[in-house]
């Protein structure tokens, strides 16, 4: 049976059905609709004021590739090289091609330079063994955030933009609940952080776009991106959440955005909320304890006890005083950020 007419322009043949609504659209109309939605997200949320210098976290994956051409502000690409062999080098090649195509200045920051020679592969070797999980995603996530900030400051950016899509946000919500991470649940929701305590404001323009639509958009715009998963991905807890999300989406397509909405509207007790952040005593970055998580993790690595900063209490670190009461459930390690 022939494809129906595009529901918008009624001229071309429909090329796809939008995943959530089932509306049949041709490629051009879909791209226009997608772009308009993303633009509206940014504009309506007043996320990126005009004249901002925006560092786009570019990993070479589909989300950051879709992001780059769409925002009409001064963009800089910042790519982070975590030193994962066989994965990140290939992704970086894709980023370089994109930078050439869009003619945007590209800066690559590497873990090896920033964090005293620790690449992710080295971290994985150091935490492996004794039958416990390697917790690679914990390290990678925290250090990547730090690296992105450093890169953004290097290029003189005022905002950081990442390509997290709605599926990522929904997975994050599920993960936080399954791990009982009340602090992160309280902090999360909303379109990004406003940048408290000197950290750069971050936002996620693709937050309300479903992953399928991002893929379709990248296809129709013929964007060149890198789509293999990280070498350490099979160990991540996020895999469970992702699997569940796929099933939920199949059962009920609105579940993805419903999860994001639920997380926004969660009302947690004041005791469960994170305390007001201060500054790290070593590097001056945003931290809710004396040492920021990145410094704490690196500390542990350097001392040969990589798990020092993972888990409750963070005993053994030279911190000024024990953790405050009222946050006994603080989980210091963040969730694993998916490769994008």
């Amino acid at each position: 049976m022939p494809a129906p007419q595009c529901a918008t322009c009624h001229k071309a043949r429909a090329a796809l059905r939008r995943p959530r609504s089932g509306r049949a659209l041709c490629g051009a109309c879909f791209c226009a609709a997608f772009e308009a939605e993303v633009l509206h997200t940014v504009v309506a949320g007043r996320l990126l004021p005009s004249g901002a210098v925006v560092a786009v976290g570019a990993s070479g994956g589909k989300d950051s590739t879709v992001l780059a051409p769409r925002l009409g502000i001064s963009l800089r690409l910042v790519a982070v090289d975590e030193g994962i062999g066989g994965y990140r080098d290939a992704a970086l090649a894709a980023v370089r091609r994109q930078a050439a195509r869009w003619e945007l200045p590209l800066t690559v920051v590497a873990y090896a330079d920033l964090f005293g020679g620790w690449t992710m592969d080295a971290v994985a070797r150091s935490t492996a063994g004794s039958g416990r999980s390697r917790a690679c995603c914990t390290f990678c996530g925290v250090l990547r955030r730090r690296a992105l900030e450093e890169g953004a400051r290097l290029v003189g950016a005022t905002h950081i933009v990442t390509g997290h899509n709605a599926d990522d946000m929904a997975e994050t919500v599920l993960m936080n609940f399954l791990r009982g991470d009340a602090a992160r649940l309280a902090r999360g929701g909303g379109l990004g952080s406003p940048g408290e305590g000197g950290a750069l404001p971050r936002c996620r323009p693709l937050q309300l776009a479903s992953q399928k639509e991002v893929v379709l958009y990248a296809h129709f715009r013929r964007l060149d991106y890198f789509s293999e998963e990280c070498v350490y991905a099979p160990e991540a807890f996020r895999g469970h959440a992702r699997h569940l999300l796929k099933l939920l989406e199949a059962a009920r397509p609105s579940a993805v955005l419903d999860l994001v909405h639920s997380a926004e509207r969660l009302a947690l007790a004041p005791a469960a909320r994170p305390p007001a952040p201060g500054a790290c005593s070593r590097c001056g970055a945003l931290a809710s304890r004396a040492l920021c998580q990145a410094c704490a993790l690196l500390d542990g690595l350097n001392r040969g006890r990589p798990r020092l900063a993972i888990g409750k209490g963070r005993r053994g670190l030279d911190e000024a005083g024990p953790p405050r009461d009222g946050e006994p459930e603080r989980a210091p390690a963040p969730d694993a950020v998916p490769a994008f």
Binding site: P4, A7, T8, C9, R17, R20, S21, G22, R23, A24, C29, A32, A36, E37, L39, H40, T41, V43, A44, A135, C137, T138, V173, F177, L178, R179, G180, D181, A182, G190, L191, L208, E235, H240, L244, L247, L248, A251, R252, P253, S254, A255, L257, D258, L259, H261, S262, A263, E264, R265, L266, A267, L268, A269, I310, G311, K312, R315, A331, A336
Partner: protein, 612 residues
Amino acid sequence: MCQVGEDYAEPASEEPPPRQPGREQKCVKCKEGLPVVVIRAGDAFCRDCFKAFYIHKFRAVLGKNRLIFPGEKVLLAWSGGPSSSSMVWQVLEGLSRESAKRLRFVPGIVCIDEGAACGLSPEARAKALAEMKLILQTVGFPWHVVALEEVFDLPPSVLRCFAQEPVGTEGAYKAAVDSFLQQQHVLGAEGAGDSPSLAQGEEQLSWPCTQDPQNPQSPDRPPTAAQTEALSRLFDSVKTLTAKEELLQALRTHLILHVARTHGYSKVMTGDSCTRLAIKLMTSLALGRGAFLAWDTGFSDERHGDVVVVRPMREHTLKEVAFYNHLFAVPSVFTPALDTKAPEKASIHRLMEAFMLRLQDQFPSTVSTVYRTSEKLVKAPRDGCAAGPPGPRCLLCMCALDIDTAGLCLPSPGCSEEGTGEWVLGFSSPLVPSAPLYLQTVPRLLGLRLPCICPRRSPPPHRPLHPAVLQGWGGCRAAVGGPGPARGAALLSQGGPPSPRHRAAVLRLPCEHEGLALPGPPAALHLGRGPAPQPEVPTPTLLREPWGALGRSACGATSHPAASPGPASSSRSRSTWLRTVMMRRRLARAEPEDECPGPETPRVPGLGPLPR
């Protein structure tokens, strides 16, 4: 994998070497008895210690939240399943203890026969009912067996939230207990029996309660075939299992509420166990009910005002319940439920259940972690604007409506997904023969409450929109032209396929406008515009103030071009439905206009006739 248990829920100490339970192992509590069951992570209990532990948990939950006052009438909601049977058994045992530790409330049992909704044959239902009555007679509390069909006879008061008597504070509770004890002492001295907490296996006729003339409560009167038929049709009209389950829960809650109110019970106890509540919490998250988790899964749920639902079994895991029932021969009845034998991917509830139980296998603290997170939830809007006047509430679940800051009114998610097509608009549907009082008064209620029938948060239809509907959009949009309000109502019109029976797809927002309900109002409004036939739509205006226009002035100008039979639908009932929806929105906004005069469709001035 990142281990949830050791990183986030267990103490930071290294995991102890696993102890192999050998023959020499003794109960961890009394160190003497032979252990029969392992609770939590490796705590082996002997039979007596387990019983004591179990009972203690039950009493502790009741005692910690001092909500049940002595002498109060409490309705136990019993489904026949293991958790609620265990709860009933605990209450039975608790009432028969020595007087110092005796439970001090007056119980009754309600049992809802849901066979019609689950598609059971009348013989199977009768058999299950007979088994239940046997157990009910053994237990000896006053009992009420209600068929789900009686939901058609519910009065509209069920949908209202009555003003609650001020909840007792610490002092009030203590004072009440003291005075009760004193009273008992006096009565005991006089030789009169204790409060009639144990009626001798009679029905509620022994209670000095008023019979509701509409609901004569005779359990021997089976529901009429017409009612059963109507109920099956109602459930069949709901397309997805998820929506059916939600509908069933709503109906069940209302029915239990009604029974409680009729017979003067001020509390209802349900037997939700820890595992079930954790699953329910995750399911509610996935359904978009994050704002109401504290009510859905907390200890007490006072949404309905005068009747408070409490969950005393919320700290018992299903494993403990099952072992207790097995070891101490607690009777229970198995009745097939709506999702019995349904495939795992059939509904959100089933998916979550399978996921949680599987995860629990790998990470044994999953359920308790999720449960503990639920304890940290509070019953307040996130932004802490509790000082404001209570906003409008959802008709079905009594939770506050999700009103966007820009004024767009959204229903409690999860409610609008149900079979509200036939359910709420039953009075206009020819399918329910006797328009039930309950359902008929819904429009009248709307003077008090905003209906659930508001644009839902980005709820796309499950299936592609019928091409006729898409065309209808084209038509409606053309007619709508400029201002937001008309648009909003046009969106409302596209609720579902143009069939005479409107379905569970109540108000699905058109996908292009799915942004309407999203956290950041997305650009959807001007989507798909391109070559669309309304060049005069002021897009910049929409961008600047989309929701204000929609929200505030919507109903005054609710676009009745959409309400009049659009090109997509030729059936009368559909247009009636649309008109009703428009009327309702207008009523609900408390416009100074008078009552909607009926099937009138006031036209928006300035808009020409619908182009075809």
